[in-house]
């Protein structure tokens, strides 16, 4: 059993210590399917470490840690998405991400120098802990990052969507006792605050103040799903895959998952940067107009939303459209979902307050509506005054002329979508 590390004050003042190396990325999968955001995180790790190795003329690795049961085969995918090495632990007791068990195993892996035997043999003798660690800020990773860092006794920044590695001069009342000290290889972790308007940068720094001197490693964060892009998959990439044999505490095995149910909402507004919603304004020719919206959404790679009245099946449509689009889980507004895409396009929607409630925090709002007095105009950035039947074909036409600009994006989306 791992004892809870009590806080000990270490008298180690060295700045650039080889005992703390590499970027460890905690991968998540469910039923042997990688969670897409894990790859986003891996992509960002790859970019950061490429930059790091160039800048510091160094050779530190991106190491993916993956726990589960029957997950060995996924290791190759992780390499192809940017990992230099994968350390996996495969065991029936790891089938579900039980916090206590996972915390202990991850802590074992990242503090055990022998884990690095194949990956960076030259440092095995002095390795203590990772330099950096990335977790996912989802319901699993958010808690896991907290407990792992409590175990490793270091700092954590949660819900990060921007990262920068740099050297900083820091002057801090406690950390440096008011003196300016140069810190190297600092991970600047940017967290959007509660208002969504501000970024707070969080640093995890050693205490250099002699009265409270203490080192804090790794510098760790949890990353908001969707914040970063995955790397384009490269199946030719190679890397080291090594297995770790976990040690369990009997007591912990009394914690059991007795049932697990996956629910997948077919409408995943969060996965899209653009949402096109339609409302009663389709009434002149509902089916043809839905087709138009569908076409526009396809070109823009957008998800489709609806206003509430549409969900009451007010039009007679063929069954296919009815079952795909006329469903309550597409409704945007107080009775439906609250969405905040980069771009929200409201087609034939008047903008009743209950609808606005669900979309007004989108970054950029476009409305297509012949009636200039519709309240939607008060919240949108661009109001295209016209009938959808006339306007959408023009947009589609113009968009297809610029298919080149769209292609690049499509590739990314496709690889992403395949997973």
């Amino acid at each position: 059993m791992i004892m809870i590390t009590m806080n000990k004050i270490e008298n180690n003042h060295s700045t650039n210590n080889d005992s703390y190396r590499h970027l460890f990325v905690i991968i998540e999968s469910i039923n042997n399917e990688l969670i897409p955001a894990s790859l986003e995180m891996l992509g960002e790790a790859r970019r950061q470490m490429d930059h790091f190795n160039l800048k510091y003329k160094s050779n530190e690795k991106v190491i993916a840690i993956h726990l589960g049961h029957g997950i060995k085969d996924l290791s190759k995918d992780l390499i192809s998405y940017g990992a230099d090495a994968v350390i996996y632990a495969d065991d029936p007791h790891l089938k579900y991400p039980i916090n206590k068990i996972y915390t202990k195993i991850i802590s074992q892996i990242v503090t055990d120098p022998h884990s690095l035997k194949e990956i960076s043999p030259e440092y095995v003798s002095i390795f203590k802990k990772p330099r950096y660690m990335f977790f996912l800020a989802d319901s699993i990773g958010r808690h896991l990052s907290s407990t792992v860092l409590a175990e490793l006794d270091s700092g954590l920044a949660s819900d990060i969507n921007k990262l920068v590695i740099s050297d900083l001069d820091i002057k801090h009342q406690h950390k440096t006792k008011g003196e300016t000290i140069h810190y190297q290889k600092v991970l600047e972790m940017y967290r959007p605050d509660f208002s969504g308007f501000l970024w707070t940068t969080i640093l995890c720094l050693d205490n250099k103040n002699p009265e409270i001197a203490k080192e804090f490693h790794p510098q760790a964060c949890s990353i908001i799903p969707g914040a970063f892009q995955p790397c384009v998959q490269d199946t030719k990439r190679t890397g080291i895959i090594s297995q770790f044999s976990p040690q369990f505490d009997e007591q912990d095995l009394k914690i059991k998952v007795v049932k697990q149910e996956l629910v997948k909402n077919p409408v995943q507004f969060e996965n899209y940067k653009i949402i096109v919603s339609f409302g009663r304004g389709i009434k002149e020719d509902p089916e043809a107009n839905i087709k138009l919206v569908e076409k526009l959404a396809k070109i823009l790679d957008a998800e489709i939303g609806i206003s509430l009245p549409i969900s009451k099946k007010i039009f007679h449509l063929n069954e296919k459209y009815d079952s795909i689009y006329i469903t309550p889980n597409r409704v945007v507004g107080t009775s439906g979902r609250k969405v905040t895409p980069v771009i929200y396009i409201a087609v034939g929607i008047s903008g009743a307050i209950q609808h606005l409630d669900g979309m007004k925090d989108s970054d950029f709002i476009i409305a297509i509506n012949p009636d200039e007095n519709s309240p939607i105009k008060d919240v949108c950035d661009v109001f295209i005054k016209g009938r959808m039947e006339d306007v959408i074909p023009v947009i589609i036409d113009e968009l297809s002329k610029r298919s080149g600009q769209l292609k690049e994006k499509e590739i990314q989306v496709n690889t992403y979508g395949k997973l």
């Binding site: 009451k312 099946k313 007679h316």
Partner: protein, 626 residues
């Protein structure tokens, strides 16, 4: 299975009175209310009366709740001025009917049901708790099953495990599902119903007193309206003063609405637009406008900052124009004097104008828009208000009392509640719940109620009082020949008494359509106003919110499952609902009527030809005032 002796369904003023009275009689009871909190589903005009009658005992609010009702002020103002206004365009002729208001009356208080029922609930809960009973909110009774052999009822709800009870008191209001489940009566027909619609308008205490010429902070006025404000419908309007708000609305025959569908909102709007009323409700209203050229972030921050200041401004202004609140805030040393409050208020006004570009405009402020059906006891009351061991009280039993300007349901429901409690207590003592022993006994008690007598017969004396007040003011020659004859007829004491005796004998209900006629409700009032009325002009045009604005202001706890099912979407009746639904939940799409239940305020107007239930526990609309 759990069990309890008595289950009261519905926590309106009737159900709560039953819980309180049963507890006073030492009987354990529980009350189930669908709303998340007591008072969140109830709507009234309203004036709560305490009455005395030569025809027998009345169980009044103070009999049920004791003197603390009078000392703890769960009501608004004591009505001491009661005025009937005949309207025709901008002309109004007012007749003081305070004497008729005082007829057989101990008192009449204006009330807001959320506050009032919450107070009742607290009293009833305290009493019931001591006997192991109490109020359970957020529970919707879905079905009742009979255990015939043991004459027990199994109560099934959407929220609790089923349980067993000996007696049910159904106080579930005009749209009673219990009545339907038990097959105790038909749904009320349009001729047996009124649609009541109301808006609550905010106005500071002292401004109310000044405007209604009330010289006492405890007192208030009631105004009734007849004439063109009722848009050719059979019914009338009301305006009651609360402490710092006004209740304005109307109550109209449902069958006249079906004949001549008019949006309920239009009915209150016609009241608000009447120049006399426009002037009574007007106030200084701050207009918040955000500079749209600012960045989105700045707009949000600015809007937040303004909201905060406006909240302070509203609070301070309310304080400044109040009595008790102000005294208290000075006694608590929050402010040193009235002058300090005034100067702080002026400062805020200045800041809002100078720094935030807020403009103050003459307009009025609506707090809440409500609608509800009310049963007309003259026509629709249950002749035997029971079914097996279920007793019906209040609106559920169809016992609303309407006559001339009289609109009474609250006091009647409480009187019923006391009578039902007495009958139930007696049955519990003897452990006998047979219809002969319980239901029939309760029916007898209800028949003895002076309110029931008033539903069956015209009270000559009451009519006398009204006519005396009217006759003093209206020379008979202003009316046309037809109306003059009628007027003379009813003005002659001897003739009238003979006439009414005949009516009461022949059958009051059969002659109702003659009494409740276009002539009485608007033709004559319009004529009177035209001939005798004084001209009123409004100094501004009130900006009346749209129905969408009104709905947006209401509070809902939405249920994704609709509590209403359309049975036949092509029906003529449903087409009328497109107009008559107060919150426009129905719309015509092609040939079909569709329902968007999210905005439903549970008035019951569409219930006649739909499968209509109350929403599940805690769901649906939440009225803040009622």
């Amino acid at each position: 299975m759990e069990n309890c002796d008595v289950t009261i369904v519905g926590g309106g003023s009737a159900g709560l009175a039953a819980l309180k009275h049963l507890s006073s009689l030492g009987k354990q009871a529980i009350l189930l209310e669908a709303g998340k909190e007591i008072g969140s589903k109830n709507v009234s005009g309203g004036i709560l009366y305490s009455k005395k009658s030569n025809n027998g005992k009345i169980y009044n609010v103070e009999d049920i709740y004791g003197e603390s009702f009078l000392t703890e002020y769960p009501y608004e103002r004591k009505i001491t001025k009661y005025i009937l206004n005949a309207t025709s365009k901008d002309k109004v002729f007012s007749i003081d009917l305070t004497e008729s208001h005082n007829y057989q009356t101990n008192f009449g208080y204006s009330v807001l049901l959320n506050k009032l029922n919450s107070w009742f609930a607290q009293e009833a809960q305290n009493a019931a708790e001591r006997l192991g009973g109490g109020i359970i909110t957020g529970v919707h009774v879905r079905a009742l099953k009979w255990e015939e052999k043991r004459s027990k009822i199994i109560v099934q709800t959407d929220e609790l495990e089923e349980f067993e009870t000996k007696v049910v008191i159904a106080a579930d209001g005009v749209n009673s599902e219990i009545a339907e489940m038990a097959n105790a009566r038909e749904k009320f027909s349009p001729s047996e119903l009124y649609q009541g619609v109301k808006v609550l308008v905010k106005l500071p205490e002292k401004i109310i007193e000044e405007r209604f010429e009330i010289n006492n902070s405890e007192e208030g006025a009631a105004h009734l309206f007849a004439g063109d404000v009722s848009l050719n419908l059979i019914g009338g309007g009301f305006l009651y003063t609360n402490r710092d708000s006004l209740s304005i609305g109307g109550v109209y025959h449902y069958d006249s609405l079906l004949e001549n569908p008019i949006e309920p909102a239009e009915i209150v709007n016609s009241m608000l637009k009447n120049p006399l009323i426009s002037e009574l409700i007007k106030d200084e209203v701050p207009i918040k406008e955000i500079d749209k050229t600012l960045s989105k972030e700045q707009q949000v921050r600015k809007s937040f900052a303004i909201t905060k200041l406006l909240n302070n401004w509203n609070e301070l202004r309310q304080l400044y124009y109040s009595h008790k609140l102000k005294e208290k805030s000075i006694a608590d040393r929050k402010y040193s004097s009235e002058d300090e409050i005034k100067s702080k208020l002026d400062n805020l006004t200045k800041r809002l104008t100078d720094e935030y570009n807020i403009k103050f405009k003459t307009n009025y402020i609506e707090l809440e828009y409500t609608t509800k059906l009310v049963p007309d006891g003259k026509r629709g009351r249950m002749k035997k208000p029971y079914h097996k061991n279920i007793l019906f009280i209040g609106d559920a039993a169809g016992r609303g009392l309407f006559f001339g300007p009289r609109i009474e349901g609250l006091n009647v429901g409480m009187d019923d509640a006391a009578r039902a409690s007495i009958a139930v207590a007696r049955s519990l003592d003897k452990n006998n719940f047979d219809s002969d022993y319980l239901g029939e006994f309760y029916t007898r008690l209800v028949e003895e109620s002076p309110y029931t007598v008033d539903m069956k017969e015209i009270d000559k004396q009451y009519l006398n009082v009204i006519l005396n007040s009217t006759r003093k003011r209206i020379p008979s020659n202003v009316l046309g020949l037809k109306h003059k004859l009628l007027f003379n007829l009813v003005s002659n004491d001897g003739l009238r008494n003979f006439f009414i005796t005949m009516i009461n004998k022949y059958g009051y209900t059969r002659l109702l359509s003659f009494i409740e006629s276009e002539d009485v409700y608007f033709k004559v009032p319009i004529k009177i106003a035209d001939k005798l009325g004084t001209l009123n002009t409004a100094s501004y045009i009130p900006q009346i919110p749209t129905i969408q604005d009104r709905v947006a202001k209401l509070c809902y706890h939405e249920d994704n499952i609709s509590h209403i099912k359309i049975l036949d979407s092509s029906k003529n009746f449903l087409r009328k609902m497109v107009v008559l639904c107060p919150t426009k939940c129905y719309s015509l799409e092609g040939d079909e009527v569709i329902l968007q239940h999210e905005g439903c305020i549970e008035c019951g107007t569409c219930s006649k030809e739909t499968e209509w239930r109350h929403p599940r526990g805690e769901k649906g609309v939440i009225f803040k005032y009622g």
